[in-house]
């Protein structure tokens, strides 16, 4: 034994034990696994949430130096991106201006016209500011960030944004920084608004860029309450010169002092922008995710034969995902911070880890013999695949290890994640998934057990050995059919697509859930991305938590300003001291307030919220500003210098002076248009819109409902009233089709149970155990003819019964019991002497035919007691010889060449006409057994062919009830008959097969003397007219067609197919009775055969197998094991094969592939009879009822109860007539069920 072998065995044994463990303690193991997953994922909490929000780092201004490119020793204090110079330094001058004191003579435009007008002088000041020291003269031009052209797509902004010069933006840009244009502008708001983007726009607008503060805080509005205008002048500097900036700050402060300003000017903020995701990046990302989902789909699709496919697929995906989370968590725990973009590498990680092992495991476990205990099944399945799983894991680890030696840091990191992920995935597979699988298998077994307890009772439970890891004994034929419970998705393969989608939506309540989830996600996104919301808070938290954030800055700077600053409304209330400087000092202009202090006088206050003005802005402000000049900020950072506050107080006079002439003219009266009113208007608008949308939605839904639902959906109540005790679920979606009352038409008349049933569409012939044959009209249910048996005491030539021992006791139980009863009744035995006495040559006349000669005295009504009729057999024979002679004399040709006589003879008594034909039969003088029971019956074109247990074949006229012909060639009982065109094939108990030809000879004039003329007006029956002389001749007898009794005989498409107890099926040609094929393939007696005009041949046997054959070549098309017992019935449609078995299961197979589509579990003791009404409508017989099934869905459509006392009487035979009516036997009654048109219309 090599090392490899030993290793393999050890692994196998270990897996076996592990499987036992998992299946034994599922709940603790799942709990343990969940706990370990959570534990391993715990470190993930420390990681910042992924996002593209900018990251902030604050340093002090005083000792600021440009960070080096190379990381210095103090790693850990500075973020990784804080290297090298920033893209730009942003210096903002925050201007707050107000006209103070407010005068009632002022118009609303005055609130912002003159304050904005002051921006030009400020700009002038800034531009012209020069700082001179020993090193030279520095001006803004030399320091600022020089920009070139705008991007080609931004031509319309060319007049506004600076080009070829300093990047310096302010509200003055609206007027090209020219005071003249500003003064000439009659409508400032319009100018500002014309550059606003139309509609809802989430990104930065030009207004935000130019004003530098959020729209709400600018105060540039006619309805501003505070009457304070805020804006910034933003200067982008390419290099940092503290001295220049210091002097600028000092100069501005000196010009416009802000007394109560509490802004700190000792720290600068560096904002790092993450990589942006554009379409170009999104497409490959989406592609990889699509591939990932396709992979998961194709993988999980292979999970089959389990209780819950979805559950297991979910478990598989959960296994992989949580192993990934675990790997990230573990890596974080041990100090490795992920630097890769998680979203990008995630699909690759999933693909590398893969779902293969999980699937292999499932397949292996599922394919273990189902008779074993769940524990053992799991253990065996595990150990069977242990070697391949281990090999797989080892290979993948090896490949990843190779990847680790590529020495590329990113690949190394990826490999590290993958290795940890693989290991944790293996762990999870072994513990989590195996346990889930065991739970699933157990559930399936329970469900299976409940369903098939009776069928399984007889099956011996094979006891497995204690430890047989690798030798799974292949069960002979259990496995293919024990797992009959298909997953619902599989069962509904054949649903129309539209319905499937709708059903799926309805079943899963997908729409509601999607809407719910969407709402939650939307709210989450809103909260997260809200500039004043969670993200800033998180960013603050992160910067607080991480040691980087607090480096080199006092603790109160790091956090405190950030969060309160995020919420402007709350800060107002939190605002420590609003400094009630009611009379601001207007140092700049010298204009003093004239003591005109009104309560509405605007106050300029500086709070901490101003300090972080950049945070109020949308996150894309800076990137979009720079992107206009094709400068990307992705993965780079900018440094924001402390704000220079400027306070402007303007006097009313100045405001009035700067007015544009149109300002006053066109001003609407300020009082009526209060903001409240506007708010109200908006509210109304929103309400109206919402109402309209709601109405539209309702209409849309209504239309959808009308389209999707049938018109009378749910109107016909009692959906489950007639269902069979509610234990057969009609539809897994809860949809029940409308029920229309189907009342079966009961045909009563037989005194005993009905044994044979035959129909040719128009007529219906039935034969009961008493031997009475009745002919019914298939349309109306009227009884047309009664052919009573000749005697109750029947002698049974029961010589062949021993051969039938092995027969299915269910399909043919009656002959057995009868033969016993008969033997008891007929003490004399089969050849008892009484037969000639009781022989009655005249069949009964139906009461319908009153115009016939009265032959009632001839009718033997008292079968047992009456003396023999006046025609002893000898007479008949003599007469027959006479007629025969005359017949041969007068017959011009033996063929049918003679002209039909215009005057049809009076219907003769059959014996008279028929005897001559039979007379040459050498063996007929022997005891013809009239008392034998009818074993087989066929009906074609007015002729009933009845095969008796005595081996006699009789042809009766169906309408008149007269015996037309009789053949007693064979002595063995006729077990099956086929009547095709003019040929009758009779299968006998001894295995021989007789071919008869029915010849119609027109009667000769010779015979006319016997009967009255007339009756030429009788409608011609399809085949045989009652006046024709019918001659039934044995053309060929195949003596040893089968070694054992023939059980089934079917004829169609010019072929006769016989099935026998000797496990073979034979195909004969009907014309020349030549045996074409002997089909071997069953391992049991043949119990059912189906053949139709399309030459489809299906056979089912006692072994539960169903074979499909090609009649042309004799080859076997497919061979499936479908039943746990005999196949009792087989029907084919164009697309599928339907079989029912002794296990009360109806299986529907795909005809071309032999794949089982689904199976229907019926109640115990029913389901031997089957019929197909249309392509999609199946009817089965049950206990006192017939059920209609939809073949496409496998759903029970309706159950029709045949009688009041429905219990106990099973429907054994079922015929589907051409007019979609169903005839079935129901004890001694026949039941004619008309299928309502509702069922026909089902697609």
């Amino acid at each position: 034994m090599t090392v490899r072998e030993r290793l393999r065995q050890n692994i196998s044994a270990a897996f076996y034990r592990h499987g036992l463990l998992c299946a034994s303690y599922p709940v603790p193991i799942v709990l343990f696994t969940s706990a370990s997953i959570l534990t391993c994922c715990y470190p993930l909490l420390k990681l910042p949430l992924p996002g593209t929000g900018p990251v902030v780092f604050t340093t002090g201004v005083r000792d600021y130096t440009i960070p080096y490119h190379e990381p210095q020793g103090e790693i850990g204090e500075r973020p990784e991106w804080y290297r090298g110079p920033p893209v730009a330094y942003i210096q903002q001058v925050l201007v707050k201006a107000a006209v103070s004191p407010w005068d009632n003579t002022l118009v609303p435009v005055d609130v912002f016209r003159s304050p904005i007008g002051r921006v030009f002088s400020l700009l002038e000041e800034i531009r012209n500011h020069v700082y001179t020291d020993s090193s030279g003269v520095r001006s803004l031009e030399s320091l600022c960030l020089q920009v070139t052209d705008l991007l080609p797509g931004l031509r319309r902004m060319q007049t506004i944004l600076p080009e070829h010069g300093c990047l310096l933006v302010s509200p003055g840009n609206y007027w090209q920084n020219q005071r003249d244009l500003f003064d000439l502008d009659s409508d400032l708001l319009k100018t500002i608004h014309q550059h606003e983007p139309k509609g809802f726009h989430i990104s930065t607008s030009l207004r935000d860029l130019l004003f530098g503060v959020m729209k709400e805080h600018t105060g540039v509005s006619l309805y501003s309450k505070k009457r304070v205008v805020t804006y910034t002048i933003t200067i982008a500097l390419s290099s940092y010169d503290p001295r220049f900036l210091g002097s600028l700050r000092a100069r501005l402060k000196q010009l416009h002092p802000s007394l109560n300003c509490t802004l700190r000017d000792d720290h600068m903020v560096h904002v790092h922008f993450k990589e942006e995701i554009g379409i170009a990046e999104l497409i490959p990302l989406v592609t990889t995710y699509i591939i990932l989902f396709a992979y998961i789909y194709f993988s999980t699709r292979k999970i089959d034969m389990v209780k819950s496919k979805w559950g297991l697929a979910l478990a598989a995906v959960v296994t992989v995902l949580s192993s990934l989370l675990m790997s990230v968590g573990l890596c974080t725990l041990f100090g490795l911070t992920p630097t890769l973009n998680g979203g990008e590498i995630f699909p690759y990680l999933v693909v590398v880890i893969g779902l293969e092992n999980v699937l292999v495991l499932t397949k292996s476990v599922v394919s273990t013999p189902v008779d074993l205990e769940v524990k053992l099944r799991i253990a065996q399945g595990l150990s069977n695949e242990s070697w391949s799983i281990m090999k797989n894991v080892a290979t993948e680890l090896g490949i990843i290890l190779i990847g680790y030696f590529t020495l590329v840091p990113a690949i190394q990191e990826f490999c590290l994640f993958a290795v940890v992920g693989l290991v944790s995935d293996f762990f999870l597979q072994m513990f989590f998934f195996t346990t889930v699988l065991s739970i699933d298998i157990r559930r399936m077994e329970l469900a299976d057990l409940n369903r098939r307890l009776p069928a399984e009772a007889g099956m011996p439970q094979p006891k497995p050995g204690p430890l047989r890891p690798r030798e799974t004994p292949p069960p002979p034929r259990q496995s293919p059919h024990t797992i009959t419970l298909q997953a619902p998705a599989f069962r509904n393969l054949r649903l129309p697509k539209r319905l499937r989608v709708v059903y799926f939506l309805a079943r899963t309540r997908l729409a509601q859930r999607i809407i719910m989830v969407g709402t939650v996600i939307w709210i989450g996104i809103l909260v997260y991305t809200d500039p004043a919301g969670l993200r800033t808070y998180l960013a603050a938290q992160v910067s607080e938590q991480s040691p980087l954030g607090e480096s080199g800055l006092p603790p109160h700077l790091g956090v405190a300003p950030v969060f309160p600053g995020g919420d402007p409304t709350s800060t107002l209330s939190v605002l420590p001291a609003p400094e009630p400087t009611i009379i601001p000092e207007n140092h700049s202009n010298g204009h003093d307030s004239l003591g005109h202090i009104t309560p509405v006088s605007p106050q300029i206050s500086w709070g901490p919220e101003d300090e972080d003005g950049w945070k109020h802005l949308y996150l894309r402000q800076w990137p979009s500003l720079f992107s206009y000049y094709n400068i990307t900020l992705a993965k780079r950072y900018i440094s924001i210098l402390p704000v220079i506050p400027v306070t402007l107080h303007l006097s009313p006079q100045e405001a009035i002076e700067t007015r544009h002439p149109q300002d006053t003219r066109h001003q609407p009266p300020p009082i009526p248009r209060t903001p409240d009113q506007q708010n109200d208007l908006t509210l109304y608008k929103v309400a109206a819109l919402g109402l309209a949308a709601g109405v539209l939605l309702v209409l849309l839904l209504f239309c959808l409902y009308r389209v999707l639902c049938p018109r009378n959906y749910g109107q016909n109540g009692v959906p489950h009233g007639r269902r069979r005790r509610g234990d057969l679920p009609c539809d897994e979606y809860g949809y029940s089709p409308p029920v229309s009352e189907i009342s079966p038409l009961l045909l009563r008349g037989h005194s005993m149970d009905i044994e044979c049933l035959a129909s040719d569409g128009m007529l219906l012939a039935s034969c009961c155990l008493a031997g009475q044959i009745r002919v019914w009209d298939a349309q109306t249910g009227d009884c047309l003819t009664i052919i009573p048996n000749n005697g109750l005491r029947r002698s049974s030539s029961s010589g062949g019964w021993e051969h039938r021992d092995g027969w299915d006791p269910m399909t043919m139980p009656e002959p057995d019991t009868l033969s016993g009863a008969d033997t008891g009744a007929c003490l004399e035995g089969a050849e008892c002497d009484g037969y000639p006495l009781r022989r009655r040559l005249t069949p009964s006349r139906p009461a319908l035919f009153v115009d016939q000669p009265d032959l009632t005295p001839l009718i033997d009504t008292n079968f047992s007691e009456l003396p023999p009729s006046q025609k002893p057999p000898k007479n008949g024979f003599d007469f027959g010889e006479l007629v025969d002679r005359a017949y041969q004399e007068h017959e011009p040709s033996p063929s049918l060449a003679f002209t039909p006589s215009p005057t049809a003879p009076q219907p003769r008594r059959p014996s008279v006409g028929d005897q001559p034909v039979m007379s040459p039969d050498p063996c007929s003088p022997g005891p013809t057994d009239w008392d034998s029971s009818v074993w087989a019956m066929e009906l074609r074109g007015n002729l009933i062919a009845a095969g008796r247990s005595s081996g006699k074949l009789e042809l009766w006229d169906a309408v008149e009830g007269s015996l037309r012909c009789c053949n007693e060639d064979g002595v063995s009982g006729i077990t099956a008959l086929a009547f095709h065109n003019n040929r009758i094939v009779a299968a006998r108990l001894n295995g021989s097969l007789d071919f008869f030809t029915v010849e119609t000879n027109k009667p000769l004039g010779l015979l006319q003397y016997r009967g009255a003329p007339g009756r030429g007006s009788m409608p011609p029956s399809p085949c045989y007219r009652s006046e024709d002389v019918i001659n039934c001749q044995l053309t060929r007898s195949v003596q040893c067609a089968h070694q054992k009794p023939i059980t089934v005989l079917r004829a169609a498409a010019g072929r006769v197919v016989t099935g026998s107890q000797d496990h073979t099926v034979r195909v004969y040609r009907l014309e020349d009775s030549c045996c074409l094929f002997t089909l071997q393939g069953h391992s049991g007696g043949i119990t059912s055969i189906y053949i139709d005009q399309t030459m489809v041949l299906a056979s089912g046997g006692q072994d539960g197998a169903i074979c499909l054959w090609d009649v042309l070549t004799g080859s076997r098309v497919s061979h499936v094991y479908g039943h746990r017992g005999d196949v009792t019935s087989l029907v084919c449609t164009t697309s599928c094969v339907i079989s029912s078995g002794l296990d009360d299961l109806i299986c529907i197979w795909d005809r071309s592939t032999g794949i089982k589509l689904y199976s229907i579990q019926q109640e115990v003791g029913c389901g031997a009879s089957l019929g197909v009404i249309s392509e999609s409508l199946l009817v089965t017989g049950g206990q006192g009822c017939v059920s209609f099934w939809d073949l496409n869905f496998g759903d029970l459509l309706q159950t029709v109860y045949l009688g009041q006392n429905s219990e106990g009487q099973g429907v054994r035979q079922l015929l589907v007539l051409e007019n979609a009516a169903i005839v079935c036997d129901f004890g001694s009654e026949l039941s004619l069920v008309y299928v309502p048109s509702v069922l026909e219309k089902l697609d």
Partner: protein, 251 residues
């Protein structure tokens, strides 16, 4: 015969799936029309006497492969463009579709040829490919291929030799994981060599220019990408060829 019947009603799944793709890429289809006729005729000659049904099957497979090739070329091109992407996606899309419009159709044609050649070669060599024949595995293969491209586009390698070696190792790993057949390796290698040669010729003749200034960089990853692309497309082609015959069984 059972096989006959199944033959007749096979091969519907993948084509139906691709039908939507085709419609969406209608502009490609117009370009593809004449190419496809050439391809199918060549393939038809190569495979000798083919049945009519098989020819139709071949055309269908070729179309599917062509679509996949075009799509992958577009996506991977996008990945490469990202290296020096600007902020405005409109421009990217414009360059993607304007500068070298003939590249995606070329890639599609190559994919069709290679994807048809693989199963053909298999059948001629008489060694049918049985290793991991399922769509899940093919999906995995495509994902790894895209991953290799991703790595070559996104990762910063120390030098080109390292890049080449890494990519070569990855490509070999791809082949070993998903193919493991001699014919696959040979054909992949041939593809890589031929494609590289053609590209170089094109570049030398000035038909096409690399945007990247680093010429060596491009040359170092090109053969590996071509090799793994060949293996991937071959995998798809084999699965398509087999999926047509064996699809009903799987369902």
């Amino acid at each position: 015969m059972p096989r006959l019947e199944e033959h007749c009603w096979s091969c519907s799944c993948p084509t139906r799936m691709k039908a939507e793709e085709l419609s969406s890429a209608s502009w490609v289809a117009s370009k593809a029309e004449e190419m496809m006729s050439i391809v199918t005729s060549v393939a038809g000659h190569a495979c000798g006497s083919l049945h009519r049904i098989q020819t139709a099957n071949l055309i269908r497979r070729g179309l599917v492969l062509f679509t996949i090739g075009v799509f992958l070329a577009l996506v991977l091109n996008l990945l490469q463009i990202q290296r020096n992407v600007t902020l405005f996606p409109e421009e990217v899309m414009a360059t993607l579709f304007s500068s070298a419009w003939w590249i995606p159709p070329c890639c599609g044609t190559a994919a069709a040829v290679i994807g048809l050649l693989y199963p053909c070669l298999d059948s001629h060599l008489g060694e049918p490919h049985k290793f991991k024949r399922e769509w899940a595995s093919v999906m995995r293969c495509i994902a790894v291929f895209v991953g290799i491209n991703h790595a070559s586009a996104k990762l910063d390698f120390a030098n080109n030799v390292q890049l080449s070696l890494t990519l070569a190792a990855l490509s070999l790993g791809l082949w070993w994981t998903f193919d493991r057949s001699r014919s696959g390796f040979g054909l992949g290698l041939t593809t890589a060599l031929l494609a590289t040669l053609i590209t170089q010729l094109l570049v030398y003749n000035g038909v096409y220019q690399y945007t990247s200034p680093d010429f060596l960089y491009v040359r170092s990853w090109l053969p590996c990408i071509f090799f793994s692309g060949g293996v991937t497309v071959g995998n798809i082609g084999r699965q398509l060829a087999m999926g047509c015959a064996e699809k009903p069984h799987n369902d």
